[in-house]
């Protein structure tokens, strides 16, 4: 018999195992959230991923429900179908609820992502115009930068020239004793 765990306080093995799993799940979720926050895909790729996940949730939902649905009585002429008391009836009643909740959550997530799209200022022509004016400004600033750079290099050369002359003079003035 297992005594009480010093940290988690269990008294039996199965709840210990399930809590370990829960703990690991929380850890994995935290890592996933960390990655998702600091290394995001761009918004359009996220939207595309979300659309694909909605699609896969849809066909998983319908596929699972169709595959696992218990037989139902079609007409009073036929006898009652034999009940299947396997794990179906216990968990099956929750399946539609869980899966539809997941679908709705995915759809809400999609809406949240759409809201996170940056506002589309103007159309294509406005963007092209902005690009043209930015290019012009970039060229102007670039040319001025080039001019300043050349002037600075010229001054540097002059200063280096003067410095070497001054150093030569210093050396020539200092006679060795």
């Amino acid at each position: 018999m297992l005594s009480l765990h010093p940290v988690f306080g269990f008294s039996d093995l199965s709840s210990l195992r399930s809590s370990k799993i829960e703990f690991l799940k929380v850890k994995i979720r935290k890592i996933w959230v960390f990655l998702a926050v600091f290394k995001k895909m761009d918004i359009i790729s996220q939207l595309q991923e979300q659309v694909n996940s909605i699609a896969s949730l849809t066909f998983n939902t319908f596929g699972t429900l169709q595959r696992d649905a218990p037989p139902v009585r079609l007409s009073p002429n036929y006898p009652e179908p034999p009940p299947n008391p396997t794990e179906d009836s216990a968990n099956f009643a929750d399946q539609p609820k869980l899966m539809s909740a997941a679908l709705v959550k995915a759809a809400k997530q999609f809406d949240a992502l759409v809201a996170a799209l940056p506002p589309s200022e103007g159309g294509e022509e406005a963007q092209l115009r902005r690009i043209a004016e930015l290019q012009a400004e970039n060229d102007a600033v670039g040319q001025e930068l080039q001019k300043q750079l050349e002037a600075a290099e010229k001054e540097l050369k002059q200063v280096q020239e003067l410095f070497s002359q001054a150093a030569d003079n210093c050396l020539n003035l200092k006679k060795p004793d």
Partner: protein, 168 residues
């Protein structure tokens, strides 16, 4: 045509023997290709544009026009999708043999969704370009200011040292 497994390099490397001494003695590289070209037996085109939905034979559910409000259309397509999923569930319960039509509607909505998202990409590319240009302009301006400041400081130092030398 190079169809051997390990084809030799193209033979015109010999024309570039004196390139270091005289860059003009060798032929210029060929101009960029326009139109369609063949690469490894496959036809490629240089004009990469997203084919519109009609070209693929798919009905377009969101309105055409010069400026589409992407957010609104995406949201309304999402709502349509949810409604159609519910319809499919209903059809499966009541008239299970007529699922095909609903499934086709749902796939149509998905195709429209993806096409809309794909048509956002050129917009995103232009916005990225604008952002990069703005960053570059800002960096250049900062460098310009930096150089100006350093030159001023150098000039000031030289004046000072001239003053101290004269004072001697």
């Amino acid at each position: 045509m190079a169809t051997a497994t390990y084809p030799p390099p193209p033979p015109f490397y010999r024309l570039y023997k004196d390139y270091l001494q005289n860059p003009k003695s060798a032929p210029e590289p060929p101009p960029p290709i326009e139109g369609t070209y063949v690469c490894f037996g496959v036809n490629y085109t240089t004009d990469d544009v997203l084919p519109s939905l009609e070209d693929q034979g798919v009905r377009q559910l969101y309105p055409k026009g010069p400026n589409i409000d992407f957010k609104k259309e995406l949201r309304s397509l999402n709502r349509e999708l949810q409604l159609h999923i519910l319809e499919l569930a209903d059809v499966l319960v009541e008239r299970p043999s007529q699922y095909a039509r609903q499934v086709e509607e749902i796939s149509l909505i998905f195709k429209n969704l993806h096409h809309l998202l794909n048509s956002l990409r050129p917009h995103q590319a232009r916005a990225t370009l604008i952002h990069i240009l703005e960053l570059q302009i800002q960096r250049r301006k900062e460098a310009l200011e930096d150089i100006k400041r350093r030159r001023e400081e150098a000039r000031r130092l030289l004046k000072e040292s001239l003053g101290t030398l004269d004072g001697q």
